[in-house]
Symmetry: C2
């Protein structure tokens, strides 16, 4: 698949996801609707929709129609957005900008941002368990996909990864510890996104295992490229100031092993991701192209 083809495929999926998200979370005038405005603000701040796209592609590589699982995919974006809102809070990373716009607690206030994150996590699980999904998958598979994502979001993944990341600031850490952080904080949910799609789409155990390996390698590569862009990236393209990891003395691979070694690691991980897909044929071309694209992305 040529880069231009991938680009239009990603744009089409992204448009589908954005339209569905807007339908799911319309503006509200209820007494507590300030929190809904804050959820919408962060959800529609221009995300790449990587996780929902992976979910749709995971279903498609197993022979299903990705669009049938849009509700589930949108839930993944809600989970991801909640984690960004909370990570940006003053008590956490204390960031003022995200995707070129004020972070949620800057645009609203801290209490609203905390609640917006909480509300997005609850909304994610409301979507994952939406009865309409049962038109296209079995309740057993839906429960398994939901369980997998819940584990990746909590103390087996994202939450414990963010805690370990915060605890690692301002002190030297080992490559093993850094790998633990990335695997939990970033790769777990990325991997769960593509595997959940495979589960919903009726994938066999062997295919699911391949998607898991693909997702884990892709997730680690994605995080390393993120850290490289924090050093070499363009502030305008990134929508945030570069060099923030260094200022905050965050442990990253570029800081630990240097830029060249970090680039090489990302390349090797993308190779690993492609290798994991070797049992698939043509149908896995979008997933393969996406893995290659990770290396060249600018934001």
């Amino acid at each position: 698949m040529r880069p231009a083809e991938l680009k239009s495929l990603l744009e089409a999926k992204r448009a589908l996801i954005d339209r569905k998200l807007a339908e799911i979370l319309p503006e509200s005038r209820e007494p507590g609707s300030r929190v809904i405005a804050a959820m919408r603000y962060s959800l529609f701040a221009g995300g790449k929709r990587l996780r929902p796209i992976l979910c749709l592609l995971g279903a498609e590589v197993c022979g299903a129609r990705g669009e049938d699982f849009l509700l589930f995919a949108c839930g993944l974006e809600c989970l991801h957005t909640y984690s960004l809102i909370h990570d940006d809070l003053p008590a956490m990373d204390d960031d003022d900008l995200r995707r070129g716009k004020p972070t949620c607690h800057r645009a609203f206030d801290e209490a609203t941002a905390i609640l917006a994150g909480d509300g997005l996590q609850a909304l994610a699980f409301e979507l994952f368990s939406h009865p309409d999904l049962l038109q296209s998958t079995s309740p057993e598979r839906l429960l398994r996909a939901l369980h997998l994502v819940a584990r990746a979001a909590g103390i087996h993944g994202m939450v414990v990864g963010q805690m370990a990341d915060l605890l690692a600031e301002d002190r030297p850490i080992s490559r093993e510890e850094l790998a633990y952080i990335h695997r939990h904080k970033t790769a777990a949910l990325i991997s769960a996104s593509v595997v959940s799609g495979g589960l919903l789409g009726g994938g066999e155990e062997e295919a699911l295992y391949a998607l898991k390996r693909y997702g884990e390698a892709l997730g680690l590569a994605f995080q390393i490229v993120d850290d490289i862009l924090d050093i070499t990236g363009d502030e305008k393209e990134l929508g945030k100031p570069v060099g923030s990891d260094e200022r905050r003395k965050k442990a990253t691979y570029p800081a630990l092993v240097g830029l060249d070694q970090a680039r090489l690691m990302a390349q090797n991980l993308v190779e690993e991701a492609l290798e994991a897909l070797s049992s698939f044929g043509e149908e896995a071309q979008p997933l393969r192209a996406l893995a290659r694209y990770i290396l060249s992305r600018k934001n």
Copy 2:
């Protein structure tokens, strides 16, 4: 059911729930385990376990064994505990004490408390979707129960209620607005707890509707008694200073209509809860006794 019988029934259920929670969330020595310590700290700070008990009783009134749904019930306590941790944060209610002990952000720190809440919400949904539950209920019913609880936790319930509550501080509000806050912030999850038990336990639609009405009335009564205790209660029994609502100019029924009227409202709501159970027989005695007990509780 005599008060002494109810007391020993509640104690037995509470012991079951506490034992299961300890099994679900053991101590950990992983890199990010500080967040697990904080989750455990708040989860084992002496909660009444009202929501999980209601879930077990909801299943039992529909003829099932409550114990079969302990994993689900424990998830409800995780959800409730997460909401307490986040409500206590400096940006929200800024409370130092909860159940006679320092609040989570006081015992740990703000970032850890935010993550502990996030982790408890994810853990809740991990438990709600636990494969072991399918030994005792159908996947369709489990999904329906989970969906119901997700809605009650998010922008159709707790989160929007807490937002409305924060926005109502320091200004006069109407009885309608106060009813909206209580219904969303407290009653939605209490009602979902008992209905989810009924769903898991195989209850028919008519029984589920009765449990919903029971739970909503009980939840509102519970909140009004809470607000009354904040004025008339004993600090030692409550484990927190009294008068905090007044100091914070929180809107409550005692503040809005006076103590006597508020007591009368709570009584009427308990009558309404009992009335909702009229189609049940002997099997609903624990739920009836629990509703009466709400009125006389001291903490």
